[in-house]
Symmetry: C2
Subunit: 243 residues, 2 copies
Amino acid sequence: MKENKYDEAEFFARYSGMDRSIRGLAGAGEWHELKMLLPDFTGQRVLDLGCGFGWHCRYAVEHGAVAALGIDLSQKMIGEAQKRNALPQIEYRCMAVEDYDFPPQAFDTVISSLVFHYLESFGDICEKVYRTLTPGGSFVFSVEHPVFTAYGPEKWYAGPNGENLHWPVDCYFSEGRRVADFLGEEVVKYHRTLTTYINDLFRAGFAVTGVVEPQPAPELLESVPGMRDELRRPMMLIVAAQK
Amino acid sequence: MKENKYDEAEFFARYSGMDRSIRGLAGAGEWHELKMLLPDFTGQRVLDLGCGFGWHCRYAVEHGAVAALGIDLSQKMIGEAQKRNALPQIEYRCMAVEDYDFPPQAFDTVISSLVFHYLESFGDICEKVYRTLTPGGSFVFSVEHPVFTAYGPEKWYAGPNGENLHWPVDCYFSEGRRVADFLGEEVVKYHRTLTTYINDLFRAGFAVTGVVEPQPAPELLESVPGMRDELRRPMMLIVAAQK
């Protein structure tokens, strides 16, 4: 069964309290870097895989996209998207990314923010996204960084006084299921190496045009407690590819 | 001054005792993966930056290259290359990678094995390699992986009984000088993020065509003590790019 933690009331409440949920893109530490890798949306049809609250769909339409489809497994997410980011050009659909049929050459850009580490196979998605893109189309996504997911618990290794000693990496080349502590609950994620992310794209036929490990925006470094630790290890990976 | 540890007698003796020095390419755990990213050398002129004992120059010529130039900062390395891997098509030259003049469009392929983490700037090299390649030419190199170099000492975090607990990552986004323990000596290396390696290539004008974190060859996993730990964190990064 597909992981659908986000439809559990308590977990969703906690997710809704995150800065990126309340403030949208401005509250997402990586947005200033993700934005740089996005194409010119003018006249484009855009697909957002795992759209969450719909912030990216809205951004695409506000920057020229003529249509955006956001899909998400969680009914609660789709509900919030329809409340917060409804626009006539946007359609939100509640379904699993794995169940979408990816019609051929139906989109000019496919985006996905922090979703693929919940999916067991990335290669499958690459093939489907490739098929659904028009020639020259863009595929831009963020995921949790392999350095972040490798060991499993997604926690700093702590010293005797609870201080963050360093980030532990282990089992890097053993891909697959991990149980991470996220928002106070056990959440299943899938670890993949950087090699797999990049080579699944190549195998599907993509050219890789951007690879960025985002650093927090300078203003967040000063204002958000603990944000300086984000400079100690990469937490996210953003990749841009072209059909 | 450029790091030239390899001309110190004791250090060089220890380096010469490594499997990759004695057995050449067959003794290098990453060779089976690096080889896959190399182009067809037939008729090519090849430049090897930091050629060491000359194993890669020899391989290129034995696979069709009409000329190979290997440069290395260490006179001892060049001496061994001339002893072990001399062929009429190969020229070895003792000089720093940074001091080579990289004549325009002089080479069809540029290779480099485990050298660039000794250099302070990677962007400079990218520009120079781009200039010296013919259009369509290949640039294939390996470096120590950013996960391996980030923290500095390049050692496992040890448990109370000296066992390898996990690999520590810290200071990832603080690029620059590190002092690592290598072959029993302190060696200066330069940490760079994956983002820098890839984007310096893009900035120079390259297309990135391959990104691989090599895993040890299966037969080495069984036969070499400690090799299984190489599956616990990435140690090397191999990148292929095209002009």
